[in-house]
């Protein structure tokens, strides 16, 4: 314990974390609905056919953007506002700035949603944000970077914990990446060179914003909940530097066999395989941490986290051979890639976020969970739905790839895919059902009367 007799509470702005999670969950609900409706188009039962503003293509962009910027970014920012002050012992740069960023993010996401539905999209995958919103996004990212960098900078008089390494670069990368990906292909580089840059942008958005923050959060929450330090801090740093080096170099693997110069395509293969080595170190580190703590899986957050970690391992193992030029012949352009993307965005980062919310919601509201068994059902419905969707889309992808190669009429690949698309919609409904239970539980918890203050037992000292 430091100078004073009584420990000081963490400089966390709890209300802000709470509202970030609320906003994130609202957009999550919108994203789920948008995805569900778009999937109905593939069964020719799109409910809003003929309504221009709800054209399926536009709803698809709403789905992906609401996931990335509405759900994942909001929830990550909420979690960062919890974690960064607790790790650094300093509050974020400014309380007013934090709230300003909160409202700016909501305004930007709403403007994006409006722009997409009104038909102002920009043809950059994951960056469909209309061109007139882009400058505000860049300013917002810079402000976020400043807000979180100040406490990290103050804390770096001592060697930093690995989570903070990840957090300190995520916003630098994303600002640079956003400027590169949204403006250069729009104004300067058409065709092949433009595709190379858009590939970098697509990949870096996942790899240099979502992945570093996600892993940083895991390096915090897993040891804290297990009350056991991470297996090896040195190995986690190898993971960090490996990610930092290899991840930005892979973007071109989104456009294999295109007119992008071949040296770039070969290099992307090499670095995609290279990053798997790095991912293995991270995976081993987490498995070694939980080793001998089997009973910890009774705790729902740990279960979410480790399911996500295993899914992460699966997607990355998939990446390594998905990014071979040979495999690309068949699976590129198919539903295989769609399955892969869903496992990464929901099965990994979505699961981690849901685990974090499951852990923090009672502490944020000061109330115990309204009904913990709803949370268990939420976990099982989400996991089962996710697994079914993943396997189903992989199978559909292989089928489509071989049908196209066989020169069968295009319509045959559609007819053959319909059963798979029906299963996709069904598994999506499972996931939605799980989230409905969770939203209901969150709402009932927050709306319950505040329990009388009780004295909880003081946690055991950490044994090292």
């Amino acid at each position: 314990m430091s100078e004073s007799q009584y420990p000081q509470p963490a400089p966390v702005e709890t209300r802000l974390v709470f509202w970030y999670f609320v906003a994130g969950m609202v957009y999550f609900a919108i994203a789920l609905l948008a995805g569900f409706f778009f999937s109905l188009q593939f069964l020719n039962h799109y409910p809003f056919a003929g309504i221009e503003w709800l054209s399926p293509g536009r709803v698809r962009m709403l789905h992906t953007n609401a996931v990335a910027y509405g759900f994942i970014l909001n929830c990550f920012l909420g979690a960062l506002h919890w974690v960064v002050p607790r790790l650094t012992r300093y509050p974020v740069a400014s309380r007013g700035l934090s709230w300003f960023i909160f409202w700016a993010v909501q305004a930007i996401v709403l403007a994006t949603a409006f722009g997409l539905l009104a038909g102002h999209a920009q043809a950059i995958e994951w960056g469909e944000t209309p061109l007139y919103v882009d400058p505000f996004v860049v300013v917002g990212l810079i402000l976020m970077g400043i807000n979180f960098s100040v406490p990290i900078f103050k804390a770096s008089r001592k060697p930093l914990y690995v989570s903070l390494w990840y957090f300190s670069v995520a916003f630098v990368w994303t600002t640079l990446n956003y400027v590169m990906g949204n403006f250069i292909p729009q104004f300067f580089t058409p065709g092949a060179a433009g595709a190379a840059i858009v590939g970098l942008f697509i990949h870096d958005l996942v790899g240099l914003l979502v992945t570093p923050i996600g892993w940083g959060l895991m390096y915090y929450f897993v040891p804290v909940i297990l009350k056991k330090p991470i297996w090896s801090h040195a190995v986690s740093l190898i993971g960090f530097w490996g990610l930092a080096f290899f991840y930005p170099l892979q973007g071109v693997h989104h456009f294999f066999w295109s007119t992008i110069p071949m040296f770039a395509q070969y290099s992307a293969v090499v670095s995609t395989i290279g990053v798997e080595v790095v991912v293995m170190t991270v995976f081993v580190n987490f498995v070694a941490t939980v080793r001998g703590r089997g009973e910890a899986f009774k705790q729902l957050p740990i279960r979410w986290f480790y399911t996500g970690i295993v899914f992460y391992m699966i997607t990355c193992a998939q990446c390594a051979y998905q990014a071979l030029l040979t495999t690309q012949k068949i699976i590129h352009f198919t539903d295989w890639v769609v399955g892969h993307a869903h496992l990464v965005m929901f099965g990994v980062f979505g699961f981690w976020i849901l685990g974090i919310v499951t852990e923090l919601w009672p502490r944020l509201t000061g109330r115990p969970w309204h009904n913990p068994s709803l949370n268990t059902a939420h976990y099982w419905l989400s996991t089962a739905g996710m697994l079914i969707m993943f396997v189903d889309l992989l199978a559909a992808g292989v089928l489509q790839g071989y049908l196209w190669q066989s020169l069968a009429p295009w319509e045959q690949s559609l007819v053959a895919s319909v059963p798979f698309w029906a299963w996709r919609t069904a598994s999506g409904l499972m996931i939605i059902a799980g989230q409905v239970l969770f939203f209901y539980n969150m709402w009932r918890t927050a709306a319950a009367p505040l329990p009388a203050a009780e004295t909880k037992p003081v946690p055991e000292p950490v044994t090292v």
């Binding site: 314990m1 430091s2 009584y6 420990p7 000081q8 509470p9 963490a10 709890t14 209300r15 709470f18 509202w19 607790r86 790790l87 012992r89 001592k158 060697p159 930093l160 914990y161 690995v162 915090y220 040891p223 804290v224 009350k227 330090p229 991470i230 090896s232 801090h233 040195a234 740093l237 530097w241 080096f245 170099l249 040296f263 070969y266 290099s267 293969v269 090499v270 670095s271 290279g274 502490r363 944020l364 509201t365 000061g366 927050a446 709306a447 505040l450 203050a453 004295t455 909880k456 003081v458 946690p459 000292p461 950490v462 090292v464």
Partner: protein, 105 residues
């Protein structure tokens, strides 16, 4: 007499098998790469895809070695203990407060 299956040994052998297969395919790819780099229609072209990586990694390695010789990384595991100590302190502080925060109020 029936011996019970030793699950640990089984897993270990499976891992060894997987690594062996993976290693063999990796070696195969490496040989293929060497062939491409020396024989294809544009000898040396394949090297373009790895030379920048090797150069950059080498530079980074030098930086790390320099830092190690200057005495960094000696206490590399310390932050993970500090972090948990701090967390325990914050948990204590939270419990000493008379009322939990109520953000919905």
């Amino acid at each position: 007499m029936k011996r019970p299956i030793n699950i640990h040994r089984l897993v270990s052998w499976l891992v060894v098998l997987a690594v062996a297969i993976g290693g063999a395919t990796f070696l195969y790819k490496l040989v293929e790469f060497a062939n491409t780099a020396t024989h294809e229609d544009m000898p040396g072209f394949a090297l373009v895809s790895v030379v920048p990586y090797l150069t950059a990694t080498f530079g980074f390695l030098l930086l790390a070695i320099w830092a190690f010789l200057r005495g960094h990384f000696r206490d590399i595991e310390q932050p993970k203990y500090d972090m948990l100590d701090q967390e325990r302190e914050y948990d204590l502080a939270e419990q000493q407060r008379s009322h939990p925060t109520d953000p919905t109020a």
